[in-house]
């Protein structure tokens, strides 16, 4: 025994030995979780990194027009680009047309400024008749009058940078003007902000509806004898076992103007036949269907918290003279905060990215940001736009989780 070091019976240093023994245990645990870890990395982490990258990525354009990019950076954007820049651009363009690659930049440049696509195509056709001895800018202007418009050159400069955040600006209806300042786009084109606000509004509304509907059900589940509560639990979980598409479609059957619900209301005489309610292809439809679909996510965390509240607490409160309502407000309700917050965050996060239901029953007035993302993925094929919006959504959700974790603590979330 020297220096107070503690050794195990076989003479090894205790701290070393402990680490050795513990690490063996850790390795074992790691091997068990390895398959899932790999699965998550491949199917989740990797795609998300890809998505983040794609939202700011412009390397394809940058590669194709690399020489132009090198020189056009030196142009300050005033007047027209110097001869050297135009000459390099000419050389790049010639190379691209010889390798049949100019189509790609035509499409990409067209995002930047309308009319660019046809401009490039026409220019490429006339490249062979160029006088390579000088005055490239003048010759460009002669091929097409758009080259005499300074904005096209500025667009070219902006389109060749390797990374940019323009899609993020566009996601909030902003754009970078030709002088570099950030401005809002024209009023009639402003759609994204409306969609973001609507998405948040719907997500909050659905969360509130779910809470109001789920609270009594969860309470009933927690106080009923097991026999009945199991049956009720099956009813709550039943939606989980049905395909989302089937459920949404059945809401369409129920909610449409000539649908079951309207027929019933007309039959009861509540609604006149000629003023049937518009329950679908608007916010009402989105609200009703999403609330129904997301309800279990509110019921389960509430139930798991309520189950732990002893019924004797309410009895104790009433025995001390509190009316049942007072006892509920001061004792029962505060004890369910953990369940309320867990359920709310689950429903809110799911609702904010909901896609199928608003797509099917929402119509134009009920579409949400997720539908917009899908539109850019599938129709305009502007993937960087779509991924930029998806990234904003992701960051928003992470912020909500962060706040939740700080305020409530993520370990308070229980589902069963």
């Amino acid at each position: 025994m020297t220096n107070g070091e503690i050794r195990t019976s076989d003479g090894e240093l205790l701290s070393v030995k402990l680490k050795k023994v513990e690490s063996r245990k850790r390795t074992g645990a790691l091997i068990l979780v390895l398959p899932l870890l790999l699965f998550i990395i491949i199917t989740y982490i990797f795609p998300i990194i890809q998505m983040l990258q794609r939202s700011v990525d412009n390397t394809q354009m940058n590669d194709l027009l690399n020489n132009t990019y090198q020189v056009i950076q030196n142009w300050d954007g005033s007047d027209f680009p110097p001869e050297e820049v135009v000459k390099t651009f000419y050389n790049d363009l010639k190379y691209l047309s010889e390798n049949k690659l100019h189509g790609k930049i035509a499409v990409r440049l067209n995002y930047e400024k309308g009319g660019f696509s046809s401009l490039i195509k026409k220019t490429v056709r006339k490249l062979d008749s160029f006088d390579t001895n000088g005055n490239y800018l003048q010759q460009f202007k002669e091929i097409h009058k758009r080259w005499a418009d300074q904005e096209y050159w500025l667009a070219l400069k902006r389109a060749t940078v390797p990374y940019h955040g323009r899609k993020y600006l566009a996601s909030f209806d902003f754009k970078q003007d030709f002088d570099g300042s950030i401005v809002r786009i024209e009023e009639k084109k402003r759609i994204n902000v409306t969609l973001w606000l609507r998405t948040i509004y719907v997500a909050l509304g659905v969360t509130l509806c779910c809470l109001i509907l789920a609270y009594p059900i969860a309470h009933l589940l927690s106080v009923l004898p097991t026999r009945y509560s199991n049956l009720l639990m099956i009813c709550v979980l039943l939606p989980f076992w049905t395909s989302l598409l089937v459920r949404t479609s059945s809401w369409m059957v129920l909610l449409q103007t000539q649908g079951v619900l309207n027929d019933f209301l007309v039959f009861l005489g509540i609604v006149a036949d000629e003023n049937r309610l518009e329950l679908m292809y608007n916010m009402t439809g989105t609200f009703i269907a999403m609330t129904q679909i997301l309800l279990p996510f509110m019921v389960l965390p509430l139930y798991s918290v309520m189950k732990t509240i002893s019924p004797s607490l309410m009895r104790a409160a009433t025995s001390m003279g509190a009316t049942p309502f007072h006892a509920f407000r001061k004792i029962y309700f505060p004890l369910t905060y953990a369940g309320i917050s867990a359920g709310s965050i689950l429903v809110f996060v799911l609702a904010i990215g909901y896609y199928i239901t608003p797509a099917l029953v929402g119509g134009a007035k009920g579409t949400l940001i997720s539908n917009r993302i899908a539109y850019h993925m599938q129709s305009t094929l502007d993937w960087s736009y779509a991924t930029a919006m998806a990234t904003i959504l992701l960051v928003g959700v992470l912020v909500v989780y962060y706040v939740y974790n700080r305020v409530v603590g993520i370990d308070n979330m229980r589902l069963g």
């Binding site: 002893s310 009895r315 009433t318 025995s319 003279g321 001061k330």
Partner: protein, 362 residues
């Protein structure tokens, strides 16, 4: 000084059924006098907790009427009864501090702040928890939580406090010291307490009177020593304290003594409590400590037994013998008399007086 009411709480022909098939409480008549510590004692399922819950207002009697301080209370909801209650698992509000827990019944009564503080201090002092005001219930030990629960039931000065097995979750030593503490609190406040337990020791230590419940009925209602010394039927005899029994048939009966032939064919002289005529079947009850070993004097009942087992219990030794065909006959031998030298298989002469041996119902 006001006269103490002998029927401060009155149960009148109260029946209770949960499922419409079985009665949990059957025709209960019970008077509880003011300032009394009354214990409802019985095995689980005997109806004692149901009785307490009906008094608190959490269960409604199926039939009959309960009076509290002269008023019928069947239709008064629990929060208007003004009865304090201590629950089995304390039922402290986990999200409120000790102070807030105690302030709850006072705030409900709209008592002003200074008075609330004063009353809470007084009550916490009574249960020796001064200085714990800001603790949360989870930060307290079982015994401390229990004291808070008691304090909370007393802080609003109810005339009646109900306790539903409040000491059940505590360990043995703590339970015993809490028993004395509760008894002293009761004595100093003069509040009426109705206490439910299945622990006979607890009941005997604390109560003024004990109501022994079985099968939905009160079997015997009397003071602790009466209950132990003079049980009126076999259930009470076997439920309270240790008890040796023989079964047999009465062959002769006179005032103060009955001659009973046991199933083994021997004759015992017993004190007839619940037998009336010869030919009656009877269960004879005899407390272990009433049996003399190697009796010097002449006793009515004298037999020889065979030792089966000797169990050392610290302050006393328990000897199991075979006597008159009963293989479970227990003797308690104080360890002070260490001159007795037993071995399993030895014969032992035993004797007891007919008065201590009670012939009860079969």
């Amino acid at each position: 000084m006001n006269e103490k009411k002998s029927d401060f709480v009155k149960f009148e022909q109260v029946d209770k059924s949960y499922d419409g098939k079985e009665l949990v409480v059957k025709g209960l008549d019970l008077d509880i006098s003011e300032g009394e510590f009354l214990t409802l004692l019985g095995p689980s399922g005997s109806g004692k907790t149901t009785t307490l819950m009906m008094l608190a207002g959490f269960e409604t009697p199926t039939n009959g009427e309960i009076y509290f301080d002269g008023r019928p209370i069947n239709n008064i909801p629990p929060h208007k009864r003004g009865i304090g209650m201590v629950f089995q698992n304390y039922a402290l509000f986990p999200h409120l501090s000790v102070f807030e827990n105690l302030a709850f019944p006072l705030k409900v009564r709209k008592i002003d702040k200074a008075e609330i503080e004063e009353r809470i201090n007084r009550t916490l002092k009574m249960v020796s928890l001064t200085g714990f005001e800001n603790r949360m219930p989870a930060q307290l030990s079982g015994g401390q939580q229990q004291r808070v629960a008691v304090a909370r039931a007393l802080v609003f000065d109810p005339k009646l406090v109900l306790m539903d097995e409040p000491l059940g979750a505590l360990d043995k030593n703590l339970r015993e010291s809490m028993q004395y503490e509760l008894k002293h609190i009761h004595e100093s406040l003069g509040v009426t307490v109705v206490y439910v337990t299945h622990d006979q020791g607890e009941a005997l230590t604390m109560s003024n009177r004990i109501a022994v419940f079985n099968d939905g009925k009160v079997q015997q209602l009397s003071g602790p020593n009466e209950l132990y010394e003079t049980p009126v039927n076999s259930f009470v005899a076997s439920f309270i304290g240790e008890n040796n029994t023989f079964t047999g048939t009465v062959t002769e009966i006179a005032s103060g003594s009955a001659k009973i032939q046991t199933d083994s064919g021997d004759t015992i002289f017993a004190n007839p409590i619940a037998v009336n005529s010869s030919g009656d079947k009877s269960r004879i009850s005899l407390r272990p400590e009433r049996v003399s070993i190697d009796p010097n004097e002449q006793l009515e009942n004298q037999f020889t037994s065979v030792i089966r087992e000797i169990i050392y219990h610290g302050d006393h030794t328990r000897v199991r013998v075979n006597l008159l065909g009963n293989d479970e006959f227990i003797l308690k031998v104080p360890n002070a008399s260490s001159d007795l030298d037993f071995n399993v298989g030895d014969n032992l002469d035993l004797g007891w007086s007919s008065h201590d041996c009670r012939a009860l119902d079969y």
